[in-house]
Assembly symmetry: C2
Homo-oligomer: 409 residues x 2
C-alpha cells in the first residue's frame, strides 16, 4: 500500500506544447501490458540529463551518454519496461543501438538524435526485434495529452503511476511543467532515479540544461532511498520544448531562471517522494533531517546511515519506538570525530535523546504516538556546525521481502 | 532456523585452566532467564581486546577502554544481557562503573581490574542494583567447565549457543583454546562482534595480546555481516591464562606464535561464522569471495556491497538466480574506475557472467541449482589486480523483519 499517494487524475496533468507521448504493448516480457513508450520532441527542444553513477551502468545509459555528447539535437526517446538491458555486455550495446536505428528510420532522424531507456530485469537479452515491431503502434498513439498513460507504461513494481504537473507565469507568459517517474525498489539514486522525465514548454538555453538537470536531481531524486541499492539504469531527463512566448532564460540565477527552477524542483521533489511513498512494501514515509553538521555531506552521510539501517526500518514498520537503533546508526555513519555527548534526537516534536542519552522527560508513550503515524520526521542535531540536509525514505516490511523474493516469478 | 549450526556438546568444550565462568539469573529485563555472567581470571593472565568503532559506543565499552589503559591486571569480567547500556549518557557510565565497584568489592579487587560488557536494548537505564544483587549467586557458580552455560547466558536473539574448542601442542605441551560468542542481528562488526570471548591457557606475553586480538578479529569477526548495522557494544576479548608449561610466546611470528594464532583464528572464525549461520531469519550461509582487485580494501568494499544489498539478500532467500542484482551491487560499490567489461561472476562453479555480460553458456537451470543450496559461494573477479578478500553473510527473509519488528515486545 503506497503511503498517502494516489495517482494524479489525468485531467490535472497539463500537456506540454511540443512534447508528445505514444504508448503500445510490445510483449517485451509479458503479453497484455503497455511496455513501450516513445517521447517525441519538436525540433528546437533543449534536453539535459543525469544518469546513474553505478559503474555497471546499463547499455541504454551508455548509449544516452554517447548520443548526448554528439549534440545533434535530441528529437525522441524510447523507453521499455520488462528488461533493463544491463549486465549484457557488448551484445546489449548492439541491441540498444539497433532499437535507436529502428526508431530513427521511422522518424527520418539520425540514431544519435534518440535516447534509449530500459528498466526491468538485469542480465537478460533485450528483445530489440519486438521493440522495433512495436514502434508503428506507439507512434500512431503519439499525442500531447498522454502523460498519464506514459506514467503507467513505465511502471515496473510500482503500484501507483507517478505524474505531477504545474503552471507558472514567466515574463507574463503561462508556462507548463509536467513530469513522470517510476521506481519502487533498487532505489538509492545517485544523480537520478530509476526513470524520471520532466518537461516544460519554457524557453531555456540548451547550455543550461545539464546544470538544471543536475540541480533538480540534487534536490529531489538524490535525496530519496528505499533500499540503498543504486540501480544500473537510473536516468533523469529534463526537457524544455522552448514553445512558450517569453524571452529565453540564459541564466538560472535570473528572476525567471530562479522561478522556473523552483517550480520544476517542486515537481521533481513530488516525483521523487512518490517513489518512496510507493517504495516496495512501504507503510510509512520517513523524513530524516540532520542538522548541526560541519558540512552538508556529513549530514547526508548520517541521514543515509539511518535511512539504510534495516533495524531502524523494521522498527518503523512495527511502530516500535526502539529509538536507540537510530543512535546506533548515527554512531556508525562514519564521522570519526563525532562526540556522542552533543547529540540530540527528536521524533517529530518529541525530544527523545539529549546530549547522547535518553532525555529525562522522555516517556515511551510519546515516542509510541509518533511511531504510529504514517508520516514521521526524525531530526538529529549533531551539535558541531551549521550545515543541514534531508533525506526521505520508507520502512522495511514483510512485503519488501515478499516483493523482491517473488519478482521475476 | 540456523544454517547448518548446532550447539557444540558441553563435553566437547574443554575447560581452560585459570579461567572460570559463573552464571545466574539477575532479572535484568525478564525473570527466569540466565542474564548475568562473571568471568574470573587467576592472577597473571594476559588480556587483549578490540571494541566497536561505532562512535555511539556503549558505556561499558568506554569503561573497558579506560580500565585496560590503567594496566592493573584484569582479573574479572561482568557480562549482562537484556540491556545494552548504550545511548545512556553520563548516567550510563555511572551505572556501569557501579557494577564494577560491586564486583570488585566481592572479589577484593580494584574496580579497574574488571571489564564490564552489556548487550540488549539500547537507551534503557541499566538496573545496576539488580546486577549487584546477583553477584553472590554468579560467583558461587564459578567453575572451569562452565563454557557451555556461559555461551547460553550471553544469548539475546541468538537461537543457538555459540562455543567452540580445540587443543594443540605448543613446545610439547597440550594447550587448550575455547571461545564463545553471541550475536544474530545488528551485525557488521568493525574490530569485533557483539560479544566474543576467547581464552587459552597458553603463555603469551601481555604486550602481544592487543595485536593478537586485532589480528584474530580481522580474520574472523571483521569479515561477517548480517544486516550492516554496527552495534554500539561490539567487544571481542582474548585471554591467555599463562597456565600451560611451555616457554612463553614473545613473538607471534615465532613457530609457537604462528601455531597458536592459527589455532585461535580457526576458533574465532567458527565463532564469527556461527553468528552468520544464526543470523536473524537466516536460511542460507553465503561466502562472498572477491578476487582480482587492486587492494584488499577494494575487494572488501565490493564484497560488503553485495553482502548488504537487500535485493541480493532477498534473491538468495527466494533461491531466485536473479544474479544481475549482484552485478548492480558490484557497480555501486564505489570503485570509480571499475571497468565492467573485465568482470566475471561465478556462483559456486557456475560461470554466470563473463566480461560484464551474461556468459553464453550460462543457463538458468545451473544458477537455480546452486541457489537452492543452503551454502553458496559468490565469486567476483574484478580483473584489475591480484588482491582478494572474503566476507560471510546470510540472506534476508520474512523472519528477519518479523524478529526485528517484534524484538522488545
Amino acid at each position: 500500500m503506497p503511503v498517502n499517494l494516489v495517482a494524479t487524475p489525468v485531467a490535472e496533468l497539463y500537456p506540454v506544447p511540443g512534447v508528445r507521448w505514444g504508448i503500445t504493448e510490445a510483449g517485451i516480457r509479458k503479453v497484455g501490458r503497455k511496455d513501450l513508450s516513445v517521447l517525441l520532441l519538436e525540433e528546437g527542444a533543449s534536453v539535459g540529463a543525469v544518469f546513474t553513477q553505478n559503474r555497471f551502468c546499463a547499455a541504454p545509459v551508455q548509449i544516452c551518454r554517447e548520443h548526448l555528447a554528439k549534440n545533434m539535437g535530441i528529437r525522441a526517446m524510447l523507453i521499455n519496461t520488462g528488461n533493463a538491458n544491463a549486465g549484457t555486455g557488448a551484445d546489449g550495446l548492439n541491441r540498444a543501438q539497433a532499437s535507436c536505428i529502428a526508431l530513427a528510420r521511422e522518424l527520418n532522424l539520425s540514431p544519435e538524435q534518440i535516447l534509449p531507456f530500459s528498466t526491468g530485469v538485469i542480465m537478460e537479452p533485450l528483445p530489440h526485434d519486438r521493440i522495433a515491431a512495436g514502434l508503428p503502434a506507439a507512434l500512431a498513439d503519439a499525442r500531447e495529452n498522454n502523460w498519464g498513460q506514459a506514467a503507467e507504461a513505465i511502471m515496473t513494481t510500482d503500484t501507483v503511476a507517478k505524474a505531477f504537473s504545474t503552471r507558472i507565469k514567466l515574463g507574463g507568459t503561462d508556462v507548463t511543467i509536467t513530469g513522470i517517474s517510476k521506481g519502487a525498489g533498487m532505489i538509492r539514486p545517485n544523480m537520478a532515479t530509476m526513470l524520471g522525465f520532466l518537461a516544460t514548454d519554457a524557453c531555456v538555453s540548451p547550455a543550461l540544461m545539464n546544470q538544471l538537470a543536475t540541480e533538480l536531481a540534487e534536490g529531489s531524486f538524490n535525496r530519496v532511498t528505499v533500499d540503498g541499492d543504486t540501480s544500473t539504469n537510473d536516468s533523469f531527463v529534463v526537457v524544455a520544448s522552448n514553445k512558450a512566448a517569453h524571452a529565453p532564460i540564459t541564466s538560472l540565477d535570473s528572476a525567471e531562471g530562479q522561478a522556473l527552477r523552483a517550480a520544476m524542483l517542486a515537481i521533481a521533489r513530488q516525483l521523487a517522494q512518490a517513489i518512496v511513498r510507493d517504495g516496495e512494501g512501504a507503510t510509512k514515509f520517513i523524513t530524516i533531517q540532520v542538522e548541526g553538521g560541519k558540512t552538508g555531506a556529513e549530514c547526508r552521510q548520517v541521514a543515509y546511515a539511518i535511512a539504510h539501517s534495516p533495524l531502524v526500518k523494521t522498527a518503523f514498520f512495527a511502530s516500535d519506538p526502539n529509538l536507540g537503533r537510530i543512535l546506533a546508526a548515527v554512531g556508525y555513519a562514519g564521522i570519526n570525530d563525532l562526540d556522542q555527548t552533543r547529540i540530540d534526537l527528536y521524533l517529530d516534536d518529541v525530544l527523545v535523546a539529549k546530549n547522547g542519552g535518553r532525555h529525562v522527560d522522555y516517556v515511551e508513550a510519546d515516542g509510541q504516538r509518533v511511531m504510529k503515524q504514517s508520516e514521521i520526521t526524525v531530526r538529529v542535531l549533531l551539535g558541531r556546525g551549521t550545515a543541514a540536509d534531508t533525506v526521505w525514505t520508507c520502512d522495511l516490511s514483510y512485503d519488501y521481502v515478499k516483493i523482491n523474493a517473488d519478482y521475476r516469478s
